[in-house]
């Protein structure tokens, strides 16, 4: 076979992780992006900077702080302990949570740009036609921002697929639970299994290239603006 069973398992786990993170961020990132695109609050700069932090922070720094937060003495760890959910570090759900934070700007920023590009006027028009803010959001803003949603979802999915540092810090290397494709490649290299590493790396390379090719083919500046 081209790929070993453990490789396929790692790829499936990666797809599951990236899919879940994308769905969670679509739900959680949309209101943040909307708020950032419309708010005139003084907090806008602070929130925008917090959202963008994963873009500049070394993954190990983010992973370290998330590990502390999820640990038994951290606020998240305390909360999950109280809720009877157990500890999150080195579990799949810990990995999901960490990936949500790590991929947050890849969802929020294209959406924010898409919402800003729509402007106020379509929402005002909808209001004069009797639509409430929520109604206008779902019937006007969301359809008009659709290209931004596609771009944001693809970038988030692809970025989650490619993450390594945070995964290693939070998830470790547990087969079937936290060993994703990037960690599997690392394992192959560590074990001097260069053939296996090559094959996995080729799959990742082709996947990433195809995603970007598709994005750029849709519109050359889609990566920058997240608009139609």
């Amino acid at each position: 076979m081209f790929l070993e069973q453990s490789d396929i398992e790692a790829i499936l786990l990666t797809v599951k992780l990236a899919g879940l993170v994308t769905v969670i961020l679509l739900v959680a990132g949309t209101p943040i992006a909307w708020w950032l695109s419309r708010s005139r609050s003084r907090l806008k700069g602070v929130i925008g900077a917090v959202v963008a932090l994963p873009l500049v922070l070394p993954p190990s720094v983010l992973g370290f702080y998330l590990l502390l937060a999820m640990g038994p003495n951290g606020p998240l760890g305390y909360l999950t302990g109280k809720l009877g959910l157990g500890a999150l570090p080195f579990t799949f759900w810990g990995l999901v949570l960490a990936s949500v934070f790590y991929s947050l700007p890849f969802m929020v920023q294209p959406l924010q740009n898409a919402f800003e590009a729509i402007g106020e006027r379509p929402m005002e028009v909808a209001a004069t036609l009797g639509a409430s803010t929520l109604d206008a959001f779902f019937t006007v803003a969301l359809p008009l921002a659709r290209p931004g949603f596609i771009t944001a979802s693809i970038l988030t999915f692809a970025h989650t697929v490619g993450e390594f540092g945070v995964v290693l810090m939070i998830g470790g290397n547990i087969p079937g639970s936290t060993r994703v494709a990037s960690v599997q490649i690392y394992d192959h290299v560590e074990a001097l299994e260069y053939g296996e590493a090559h094959r996995m790396a080729a799959v990742m390379l082709i996947f990433s290239f195809l995603v970007l090719l598709w994005l750029y083919a849709r519109r050359p500046d889609a990566m920058k603006t997240g608009q139609r």
């Binding site: 106020e120 006027r121 005002e124 909808a126 004069t128 036609l129 639509a131 006007v140 008009l144």
Partner: protein, 350 residues
């Protein structure tokens, strides 16, 4: 419709402060760019919150800083037609038209979809997307969409300024007939005096965030004649022309006018500046101008340094302007007969 606005709003160096009450179904808000028209309309529609004051429409309080009332835009039942059509590009013509209709409470639905689309000649467009409609078609769809929301007031914020002249004058009859036919009062916002006179009865004129005049659109045009470089613009409703010796002869009431340009419209209109009319006390012996009409002076009015002379030309009204000395020299007063000369090239066909 009765609207009372007593509002104040400041942004940086600009401030708007106004207090007026206006009644009527065809009201205009007139002013140059930066006069505060759009700010006023945004506050009336509910997009912009005044710093202080109150807004009442037909007795209902839409905003009051004192009583802390600020009715949401979607609950005001004020539809709007904008300068740009602002159609929703992801919806078809039909879906755009029905957007407001579906959200209108059943007891307010008095406008029949088929009748409206018939009046606006939209029947053939219903299944189409909005992207490839012409500018005039888009504005008609936007108008239909606003009317179908069954508003109690329609705001038209410079709806013609994005259109070229020929389209502009094609759309005006739609704007008028739709709101009249469906009994929807409107406020028409524009910086064009011609549009004001064609669309409105009462006009509020704004300058630098203050209302400076409230009068009829005709009176506003007369008051501005003296300081406007274009003078007073006469709007002439003409008949179908016949070509004759290199120009066109248009029926104009009981008279006829020789005009350089032709028109293929069924009911052509022309504009003629009051500055382009030369008055003679007696019939001149010979004259190069192709139009010489015998008129009776109806009235005189002053505007700045100019005197406007309202004439009756074979039953048609016409306003000419002269300086005060000319009035004395001509001996003009109501009832006097004068001759008005106009070049064929002085008219502009609309």
């Amino acid at each position: 419709m009765k609207l009372s606005m007593n509002v104040n709003k400041s942004f940086g160096a600009f401030s708007l402060s106004t207090d007026f009450t206006v009644s009527g179904d065809c009201v205009g808000i007139f002013g140059a760019s930066g006069s505060g028209k759009s700010t006023l309309v945004s506050m009336l529609a509910g997009f912009l919150k005044p710093d202080s004051g109150s807004i009442h429409l037909d007795g209902e309080c839409l905003y009051s800083s004192e009583k802390r009332i600020n009715v949401k835009p979607e609950l005001r039942r004020i539809s709007m037609v904008f300068q740009q059509h602002n159609l929703f590009p992801h919806l078809s013509v039909m879906e755009n038209l029905l957007y407001g209709f579906k959200r209108c409470r059943k007891e307010h639905r008095t406008i029949d979809f088929d009748t409206l689309t018939d009046v606006l000649k939209l029947q053939g467009l219903l299944g189409r997307g909005v992207a490839n409609l012409s500018g005039g078609e888009k504005q008609r769809v936007a108008l239909g969409r606003a009317i179908l929301a069954n508003p109690r007031l329609l705001l038209m914020d410079e709806p013609l300024s994005a259109l070229d002249d020929s389209l502009r004058f094609q759309i005006i009859p739609y704007l008028k007939s739709v709101s009249e036919q469906f009994a929807i009062p409107y406020i028409f916002i524009s910086h064009s005096l011609i549009e004001m006179r064609m669309m409105t009865d009462t006009v509020l004129a704004f300058e630098n965030g203050r209302m400076i005049e409230q009068s009829s659109s005709e009176q506003l045009a007369r008051n501005r004649m003296g300081k406007s470089p274009a003078g007073y613009i006469n709007l002439l409703h003409l008949g179908v022309p016949a070509e004759s010796a290199g120009h066109f002869v248009y029926p104009w009431g009981r008279a006829s006018l020789h005009i350089s340009a032709g028109s293929d419209r069924a009911e052509p209109m022309a504009e003629l500046s009051s500055k382009e009319i030369i008055l003679f006390k007696q019939h001149p012996e010979a004259i190069s101008a192709r139009n010489l009409l015998k008129c009776t002076v109806r009235s005189l009015f002053s505007s700045g340094r100019k005197i406007g002379i309202e004439l009756d030309c074979a039953g048609n009204p016409l306003v000419a302007e002269v300086v005060e000395e000319a009035v004395k020299e001509l001996g003009v007063f109501p009832g006097v007969t004068v001759y008005a000369a106009m070049k064929a090239s002085a008219f502009r066909i609309l």
